[in-house]
């Protein structure tokens, strides 16, 4: 009866498969501090995929449609065409969040290195969430924007450091 009322009048109980996903989602900065109800709404729109070792999850230069969260397993970030290993990813790590706001080509390839379970969160689902639950949708968008802003600030700082080092190196090598 409670279940029927919940289904008809709005509150929806967590699905059985959702409980594992909550633990992972709560650790992701984008979904931190969301209520159980909000997490349940997110969990319902996530796509669960499984990859075997060496299987590619996303490919460099292909359209970026959204982000992936590693629920369990390990993956590697590779730069094409030489497949240079840029970094490693493990449980709870996420990638591709910029694509949630803008459909940009993937900047690197990510391939599973072990058996991998991932959760996919895509732009089309985020936009549809904004339409039916604007409060939650805006919360997510603001957090993604904040993460991208932080990353941009860090990138700017690194760029400044690198250009300073370059300038110093040039001064040292120039004949006096």
């Amino acid at each position: 009866m409670t279940d029927f009322r919940a289904r008809v009048f709005g509150y929806k109980r967590a699905s059985h498969t959702g409980t594992d996903a909550y633990a992972v989602l709560e650790k992701i900065p984008i979904f931190q501090d969301l209520s159980r109800r909000e997490l349940a709404s997110i969990e319902r729109i996530l796509h669960r995929r499984e990859y075997v070792p060496d299987e590619v999850i996303i490919r460099q230069d292909e359209p970026g449609l959204g982000m992936y969260i590693i629920e369990s397993g390990k993956a590697a970030v590779l730069s094409e065409p030489d497949k240079v290993r840029l970094s490693d990813l493990a449980d709870g790590d996420f990638f591709g969040e910029v694509s949630l706001l803008a459909e940009t080509p993937r900047s690197a390839t990510v391939a599973a290195t072990t058996h991998c379970r991932v959760l996919g969160f895509f732009q089309s689902d985020l936009f549809s969430l904004i339409e039916r639950d604007p409060r939650l949708g805006v919360k997510i968008v603001v957090r993604v924007a904040k993460i991208i802003g932080d990353r941009l600030r860090k990138a700017n700082q690194q760029l400044l450091t690198v250009s300073d080092e370059l300038r110093r190196a040039r001064q040292q090598t120039e004949p006096s």
């Binding site: 289904r7 499984e50 089309s124």
Partner: protein
């Protein structure tokens, strides 16, 4: 709970079998038009459910409200329209002609003898022909209504029932279908579906809104002009307006004929023709730019082929559904090809 990872080839096989089975069942079972109509209606009404959801309602309650609303409209329409339809059909079946209609027919005969004799229409007996035609149409329509009453009733129950589940569980159904796609084609499928959704959603909802507005404008115009059966003729004009090129003519001809037969004067077709010309201009320059956000451009030959094929498969309903379905297939093909090019499938 984890499901074992299937290799692409193993995953494609059940998907293909399911698709072939679905197509087979649809066409052999003769339920295709019911499914297509339910899908189209759910697709058109989906934003209403989303809007209700954004106001804090659950999807289920939103869907119940939509289906009940549509059901009430249908019941109301049936209560008002069905007795009137039977009354009109009985008059048609009797083949009797009013004095005004007889005079109009005589005028038309005279016109044909004087002006169109060179086409071999000099000895045409229009009165007799029209009488026969009316009787045949009336008999056929009554036979159709009586013999197909059961299937009409079944459709009236099945379509809202299917619509309910398509609207309520549509997202989940789409998610489950996508989950069957092999990893390599997963993002491509999502990309394709979201682009199709954008294009088709705008197109179908726009067409539907345009048909409703055009139908309502026609009803008002015919009512002002005092044309009989203005509600049927207006609804028919609205539906016919869904069909590009031919729709406008298909909508105006019956209205002009009814006006002539009702008044007994050939010249009474002129106000109807002028009214429809104004309505069509209003539709093209005012309604369509607002209602139809994106149009799926189709070549006139493609439209005609679609209408013929639709008519052959599912009769009048098929003719009406042919253009939206052809538009759907065109978008699928176009978006499929352009999205495919962005992926490095080898």
């Amino acid at each position: 709970m984890s499901s074992p990872v299937l290799r692409p080839r193993a995953e494609v096989a059940p998907l293909l079998i399911a698709m072939v089975l679905a197509v087979f069942l649809l066409f052999v079972g003769g339920a295709a038009h019911i499914v297509i109509l339910s899908l189209l209606l759910s697709y058109i009404l989906d934003p209403v459910a989303t809007m209700l959801e954004s106001r804090g309602m659950s999807r289920t309650l939103a869907t119940i409200i939509i289906v009940l609303g549509l059901g009430s409209l249908l019941v109301l329409g049936s209560v008002v329209l069905v007795p009137a339809v039977f009354e009109h059909l009985k008059t048609l079946q009797s083949g009797s002609t009013t004095a005004q209609a007889a005079s109009a027919i005589a005028d038309m005969e005279l016109f044909a003898r004087d002006k169109l004799a060179f086409l071999g229409l000099g000895d045409i007996n229009l009165g007799e022909r029209i009488g026969e035609m009316r009787q045949a149409i009336g008999e056929r329509a009554i036979a159709f209504l009586l013999s197909d009453a059961v299937s009409l009733l079944i459709n009236a129950v099945t379509i809202p029932f299917m619509m309910f589940f398509f609207i309520k569980d549509g997202r989940e159904m789409k998610k489950r279908m996508v989950s069957m796609v092999p990893n390599r084609y997963f993002e491509f499928t999502l990309d394709l579906l979201s682009k199709m959704d954008m294009q088709l959603g705008n197109y179908l909802r726009g067409q539907f809104l345009d048909a409703v507005i055009f139908g309502a404008m026609s009803i008002v115009a015919l009512w002002i002009l005092g044309v009989n059966y203005f509600v049927f003729l207006g609804v028919f004009a609205g539906l016919a307006n869904l069909i590009p090129y031919v729709g406008a003519i298909a909508g105006v001809v019956p209205a002009a004929l009814v006006a002539v037969l009702g008044s007994g004067n050939l010249s009474s077709a002129i106000p109807v023709l002028i009214a429809y010309a104004i309505l069509k201009m209003l539709d093209d320059f005012v309604v369509q730019p607002f209602a139809v956000a994106s149009s799926v451009h189709m070549h006139p030959v493609l439209v005609l082929i679609a209408i013929i094929v639709g008519g052959e498969l599912f009769g009048i309903l098929g003719m009406l559904l042919a253009v939206p379905v052809a538009g759907f297939l065109k978008v699928v093909l176009q978006e499929g090809v352009s999205t495919y090019r962005k992926y490095r499938f080898s």
